[in-house]
């Protein structure tokens, strides 16, 4: 996940291994760092966006996280992968931001992409066979985000990283600096909470 396979043209930043890019970036090579940003920008942005439910906040925090990572590159000792280390910076920054903004949620949700209506799982959710038939996808999106915002930051983070982004328990434990048991228990508790919050909109079993 963290290592990128080398392309034939390994002399260009796009073809370089992550470790080489990190080494060059540590020496102030902004071209190498630009490539690292490109590799992780979508995942970092998405994590922050799903945590904040606000595009503008996610944009600022994602940029700040990358800048902070660049500043701190000299202290990166390679104990974990750059990707995990970067995630940890983004996660800490986001949780700090959310703690300061406690209970002042302002949604600025991104639009659903074109493929949403063609996703069989989601189509099934809003089909006539479920209680969701009255709810459109946009309403469902709002309710889902509202429910996520009711979770505490660590619980929301675990759900976002695991159920939305598909990260493994091990990676989440490393990113959140806790053990796997904590990740599992947080995930279970968060899902239970979400199920309770969304019981009106989806017949969850």
């Amino acid at each position: 996940m963290s290592e990128t396979a080398a392309t034939p043209d390994a002399s260009t930043p796009a073809g370089m291994l992550e470790g080489d890019l990190v080494r060059q970036a540590r020496h102030g090579d902004l071209v190498a760092y630009d490539e690292l940003v490109k590799r992780y920008q979508e995942r970092i942005y998405a994590t922050i966006y799903h945590m904040t439910a606000n595009h503008e906040d996610a944009n600022d925090l994602a940029q700040d996280s990358f800048i902070k990572a660049f500043q701190a590159l000299k202290s990166f000792r390679g104990g974990s992968s750059f990707y995990t280390w970067l995630y940890r910076i983004a996660v800490n920054k986001t949780i700090n931001f959310l703690k300061q903004r406690r209970n002042k949620h302002h949604f600025s949700l991104n639009d659903l992409d074109f493929n949403t209506e063609h996703n069989p799982d989601l189509v099934a959710l809003i089909s006539h066979k479920t209680p969701l038939r009255e709810a459109g996808l946009t309403e469902l999106q709002n309710k889902l985000n509202e429910a996520l915002m009711k979770l505490s930051e660590p619980h929301r983070m675990v759900v976002v990283l695991h159920d939305v982004q598909g990260q493994s328990h091990e990676d989440i434990a490393e990113i959140m600096d806790c053990n796997i048991g904590t990740v599992r228990s947080r995930l279970f508790y968060a899902r239970q909470q979400l199920q309770g919050y969304l019981s009106e909109y989806a017949k969850l079993t």
Binding site: L30, Y33, D34, V37, K38, Q41, E42, Y45, Y49, H50, H55, N59, A62, Q63, F66, I67, K68, F70, Q71, A72, S75, R88, I89, N92, K93, I95, N96, K99, L109, N110, D111, L112, D113, N115, T116, N119, D121, L122, A124, L125, L137, L140, Q141, L144, V159, V160, D163, V164, D177, F188, R191, Q192, L194, Q195, L198, A202, K203, L204, T205
Partner: protein, 172 residues
Amino acid sequence: MNQTEPSFDELKRLLKLKQHEVPPPGYFNDFSDQVVSRIRAGEAGGKQTYVERLEVEAPWLIGFFRIFEARPGLIGGLATGLCLLLVLAVVFDEHSEVASKNSMAVSAPVIPAPDNSVAALAPSTLVAADDNSTGIVAATNPVTSLQPVATLFGQPASGSLFQPVGFTAVGH
């Protein structure tokens, strides 16, 4: 999780909806450029604050502080506990000081008081002076204000000490 626990399949399916929330088209085209230009503009040159360095180098410490942030009562409890510890330490220290002084006094050599004038100059031997015999040194600090009591006949009373008091006539 055991089999009696819910599988959350429907919830997981519902959460997939989040994956379809995407930023405006072309948003990522210049994202890295913005980051790099902000770094070039000097934002990266700014010194990291101590807290920022801690966040990267010792996230466990930040996590520890966050516990207090989430539960402000805890910091109050910890502060009260520390104050109690401090008070206990001071009290214990004073007790041990008194105890050590007492033990020193008991083990100190007995000072003979040959006559009353010497007793007056060394009032620490008050006990010894009172019974005109030897006594125990209670303290080593000299109290020079104490003087032998002079009787009506100008003779010092044996073993008696007094503290002179000055009176000022009022209204004359």
